[in-house]
Subunit: 277 residues, 2 copies
């Protein structure tokens, strides 16, 4: 299939495939890039995964995910920092320069969004230099505001950049994901802001489809099925200077119930049709 | 119960109660204000409802809802405008000065949020003067971004004010609803902006609880059950000059399954505890 030079398949999109199945399917379709997740990598083995993707000629565009940095208690905070240092180590071992961060939600019983956001900055001050020493950049991912309470208190690209810009760009940047940002009329100007300081560390796609499922986690739409004009968002990041890989990351119960190789081929075809052509 | 002087119960919170039951329950609890919805009012009869609430000594704080102004086709647009003029007439007949507007989502197949928002402005230019002649103010309600595709393309208070400020404040203002705005770090400054031009036409409360239910419509939390600091938001609107009634509007399958009078009493008690004390 032509038009896949910049396509990266985020592993979560086809989580029904094992890592060897994924690598094999990518080779068959001419897919050159993958985004990986820590849990399946740990299950398969970090070094084994690194060898697998290397042997398949795949580059790892991102590792998902670090973060969850909003805890208040010292023990919990120390544990979160230690886990994020491990995530940096894993990213480095896999040969990717980008670790995606999902910041974490409000601690139980808390109603203090501002305080939670400030604790993320405190954590980044520790993690940024550590990541730099390992050749890894942290990419704060603003998640859709519907996740503000229980998953990610960073809800807009503006907030993500306000955090990131306290640190050097080679330590901390952002993840631009259409699913989380498409509704925000300020996002285009914020993409320009991110590009101007070299902070677009990864660009991810998912489409917005409704109705949302219970829990609103696993309803990310296949590219072309929803409300988002993918070419428009690609143009925003390209105008801002980003010409790297484009990851498709779908959490979708319907896609997960299907044959993974079929979903991968469909996703690649949708990418070519709705993003590249 | 003391502390209920500013409390208004939005009818949807206890939709299991008929209008006479609601009026009777309000009288029994010392509740002075209600927010009404068009459909149950039409079912009971417009004039009958107006007499009922008048006889019970209740003021109608808002009528919900007009809007749905994003259609593209001329026939659909004309029908929407006609329906909104009827909504203005109904508001006037009920003695309320505020009609809440939910703007509408993307038309089927459209991915053009900006165009949809612009069509709302076109509609307001027709409806604003009509409302003014009937002593009614339109209150654009920004809905949470999770509704941007299918329900309301106006997702932030900033966007709502950008629309409203094209018109006189006595024609078009905004609805400030904690459920929709709580995640937005810009909302406090935008509340100040709204207050400075006299555009806070109503203030509504619901709490944010998770997990969200399928379709994300009927999971608005009882006051005090969720992530929102109600006193903080009350302080924002008061600092901005708003000292009017405060509506509690909950869409919640769990509350609807219970005895309506019990839910009303609970909601009033929660209001006193979490908002006023």
């Amino acid at each position: 299939m032509t038009g896949l030079e910049r396509f990266s398949i985020n592993q979560m999109t086809v989580k029904q495939l094992s890592l060897p199945e994924l690598a094999d399917a990518c080779t068959g379709l001419g897919i050159r890039h993958v985004g990986l997740w820590r849990e399946p990598v740990q299950s398969y083995g970090l070094e084994a995964t690194a060898k697998l993707v290397r042997d398949a000629g795949l580059t790892v565009t991102t590792l998902c995910r670090g973060g969850f940095l909003t805890a208040i208690g010292p023990a919990e905070r120390a544990a979160a920092l230690a886990d994020n240092r491990r995530a940096v180590d894993e990213a480095a071992a896999l040969g990717t320069d980008t670790l995606v961060l999902v910041s974490g939600g409000l601690p139980a019983g808390s109603k203090d969004l501002r305080g939670a956001r400030e604790r993320i900055a405190d954590a980044l001050a520790e993690l940024g230099p550590y990541a730099e020493r390992h050749g890894v950049r942290l990419a704060i991912e603003p998640l859709h505001p519907m996740y503000a309470a229980d998953r990610c208190v960073v809800s807009t690209l503006t907030q993500a950049l306000d955090l990131a810009e306290r640190f050097p760009a080679h330590q901390v940047g952002v993840t631009v994901d259409t699913y989380h940002l498409w509704w925000d009329d300020r996002a285009p100007e914020q993409i320009a802001r991110a590009g101007a300081t070299g902070r677009i560390h990864t660009f991810q796609l998912a489409d917005w489809t409704t109705p949302l499922p219970e829990g609103v986690l696993n309803g990310r739409g296949q590219i072309g099925d929803g409300a988002i004009d993918m070419r428009e968002w690609k143009a925003y990041v390209e105008t801002a200077g980003y010409t790297g890989p484009i990851e498709v990351e779908l959490f979708n119960d319907g896609l997960w119930a299907r044959d993974g190789r079929e979903v991968l081929a469909e996703t690649a075809a949708r990418f070519v049709e709705h993003v590249m052509e």
